[in-house]
């Protein structure tokens, strides 16, 4: 894999780096290099704010291999404020109940570990937006 492609995959997973179409300004996530709206080449990088809201969600009790430690956990369809929709795990819920329309923000977390000896895999999850006494 060419180095720049590898870097882009990490940026996608760690920081929600996507693309924007130079022809029609469609914002694209995950990056796919071709604009789904107009079909033209779209390779311009675009960094999402990480803010969005829960569009739909479900709780996973029987986790696939590598994710058992976290079960049960909540998976959500999150609509980013810039438009695209993606699937991600919700985290830091504490005792909050998840609701459709709930404002969430991206955090980089441990997605899975391949046992005691394996590699740790990090990527994006979403959590309830942090309450701030004084907003920016």
């Amino acid at each position: 894999m060419e180095a720049s492609r590898h870097w882009r995959l990490k940026q996608e997973r760690y920081t929600l780096m996507g693309e924007i179409c130079p022809h029609c300004e469609e914002k694209i996530f995950p990056p796919r290099d071709i604009c789904p709206a107009c079909g033209e080449n779209a390779r311009n990088l675009y960094k999402y704010s990480g803010r969005g809201e829960v569009y739909s969600f479900t709780t996973v009790y029987q986790a696939p291999a590598g994710y058992e430690e976290n079960a049960p956990y909540t998976i959500a369809l999150v609509r980013l404020e810039e438009g695209p929709m993606l699937t991600a795990q919700l985290t830091d819920l504490g005792d909050e109940t998840v609701e459709i329309g709930m404002p969430v923000e991206m955090v980089t977390r441990k997605l899975r570990s391949d046992g005691e000896r394996g590699m740790l895999v990090y990527g994006y999850k979403f959590r309830p937006q942090l309450a701030r006494t004084i907003s920016a």
Binding site: W7, K10, Q11, Y14, T15, E68, E69, N70, Q89, T91, D92, G94, D95, V107, T108, R109, K110, L111, L120, Y122, K125, L130, A131, R132, T133, I134, S135, A136
Partner: protein
């Protein structure tokens, strides 16, 4: 041996300051009374109220990333201008593979950057800051990022289990003229003192009772603070705030009193009662709480302590640029207010104390 009439302080050629800072404290809290309940210890004379506990998907890497993002939000610089990402911790997720490269990648500082992990018990974060001061102060770099972060481990039932918490902070060092707080000077004091240690491949640390307290924490912090203040002709009354390493509530209060500081100078940065001892993050997260409220011209003294043993003392002064950057990222008190209490069983699960297979 040279006889130093004036303590030899560490001062770079170019003036350096903090351009951005950011804290991180995880959501979960384990009350000390809950630890006492499990070990039938009674709840009189507990050293803190509760400690912060990281969630199942958190570690020093993920926590450092969030603190670093907060520091960058306040600094408003292009992360590709960062030439060093240094993370000090006792709980790096990997024994071999740097925390710092993942953090650097996640904040967009790669690939033109130095990256390294630092170790020196609880002062690994302040030594990363001192090295960053040198990196920027020598003009090798325009920006260097120093982080102190821990998810502290303690053996179940050990007195440390009441206080060993999770959290820390990130500081972006850069040229003084664009800083929200300038570094006036710093000083480092270290001796070979075996008060606390963990051998390779051991999960939990050991502490030598005989060396805890007087010959370690108090001696090193007092020596470092006094030497720095003597060298720059400052006295305790010149400072609006002072932040010490805080393994419990009493130690920083006592060392502060011994040095001649008043309780109100210590108060703002004393977070240990509510988040526990965050080891390499301890003094640094206290400094973020001070910077959140400090006003231009305020002087701040920071003194860390790391077992083994040493103290770094750093004298800072807030600039006119600080107030406008207060709210560009979450304040430390916002993280403290985000609080979900857990019981000991949940804590045991979160901290990997249950064997699943």
């Amino acid at each position: 041996m040279t006889d130093h009439k004036v303590p030899p302080i560490l001062k770079p050629i170019r003036d350096v300051g903090i351009v951005g800072y950011g804290a991180y404290i995880p959501r979960y809290r384990l009350p000390a009374s809950e630890v006492a309940r499990i070990w039938k210890a009674g709840s009189g004379g507990l050293l803190i109220e509760e400690k912060a506990v990281s969630g199942l998907d958190e570690d020093v890497i993920t926590m450092s990333i969030e603190a670093a993002r907060n520091a960058l939000a306040r600094a408003e610089i292009d992360p590709s201008e960062i030439r060093a990402v240094w993370v000090g911790s006792e709980s790096h997720p990997y024994a071999v593979k740097p925390t710092s490269t993942v953090v650097a990648e996640a904040i967009g500082a790669t690939p033109h950057t130095q990256a390294a992990d630092w170790e020196f018990a609880c002062k690994a974060g302040t030594e990363a800051i001192q090295a960053a001061i040198g990196f920027v102060g020598s003009e090798m770099a325009r920006f260097a990022l120093a982080i102190g972060m821990d998810t502290a481990q303690a053996r179940p039932g050990d007195p440390l289990e009441y206080t060993a918490g999770a959290g820390g902070a990130a500081f972006l060092l850069g040229p003084a003229e664009i800083s929200l707080a300038t570094i006036e000077s710093s000083y480092s004091f270290a001796t070979d003192t075996p008060d606390f240690f963990r051998r390779a491949n051991e999960k939990y640390p050991e502490h030598g009772e005989r060396f805890t307290g007087e010959p370690s924490y108090f001696k090193h912090i007092t020596s470092a603070a006094q030497a720095l203040m003597q060298a720059i002709e400052a006295s305790p009354s010149d400072y609006q705030h002072v932040v010490f390493h805080q393994p419990n509530t009493k130690f920083p209060q006592r060392v502060g009193r011994a040095l001649g500081f008043k309780p109100e100078q210590i108060e703002t940065g004393l977070l240990v009662p509510l988040i526990g001892n965050t080891y390499a993050g301890s003094a640094l997260v206290g400094l973020t709480a001070v910077l959140d409220v400090a006003e231009p011209g305020d002087r701040i003294l920071l003194v860390s302590y790391g077992s083994g043993a040493g103290s770094d003392a750093i004298s800072l002064r807030a600039t006119e640029l600080l107030p406008e950057r207060h709210n560009l990222a979450p304040q430390t008190q916002d993280y403290i207010a985000r609080r979900t209490e857990i019981d000991y069983a949940t804590y045991a699960r979160f901290r990997g104390k249950l064997t699943m297979k």
